[in-house]
Amino acid sequence: MSERLAIGPGALNVERLSSALDEGGADGAVVTFLGLVRNHNAGRRVLYLEYEAYEPLAVKSFERIAEEIRARWPSARLALHHRVGRLEIGEASIAIVARSPHRADAYAACRYAIERVKQISPIWKREFFEGGDVWIEGATADPDDELARAHAERAACV
């Protein structure tokens, strides 16, 4: 598994992700994103989440997202780790680091990456709330859906 792109139960470490992208001091910007487990969703009081993934395909989806970023923002590079298993309120489920010589590309690449993960990475969260639990179902994953990709790019460039 790549040091930069990975999924598993282990804790996230943004510093390590950022170091893995260092290319000898050429970068002027590091943008990081941490996705946290929230204590409320859709009017429910959330107790904790459980994440599950099709891990080999998830890593391939991260590689695809990194490739898309290389094509769209050639100066930016991506590192991304996602967790699986039970996560408590306030814990981070995903860490994304984008680095570039310039901040605009690093910001755009980081935002693009989280939008694309939500579109095409085979990962699911099960929400345990007061009184029950439910699988959260978002987007039908289709990496070749150009409309979805363009939507992620627009979100990244506002």
Binding site: G35, Y51, E52, A53, Y54, P56, L57, A58, K60, H82, S93, I94, I114, V117, K118, Q119, I120, S121, P122, I123, W124, K125, R126, W135, I136, E137, G138, A139, T140, A141, D142, P143, D144
Partner: protein
Amino acid sequence: MRVTVRVFARLRDIVGSPEIVRDAAPGATVRGVWHDLAAEFPELVKYERSISAAINAEYTRMDRVIGDGDEVAFLPPVSGG
């Protein structure tokens, strides 16, 4: 021929197992495997229009022909991040 079918999240709950092995006719497509599975587990039918599929951990279209020993995966709408 034999295929390994993997299912995730809500689909896994419906099937009752993350992985099952089933027979498939030569020339069978991913869609054919899905239809056999949905016949066995009717609660799956409502996912027909929202699933994605993969063969051997690569996304695939439903009309792809499968081979002996392939791992076919069915994925409900994703919710990572």
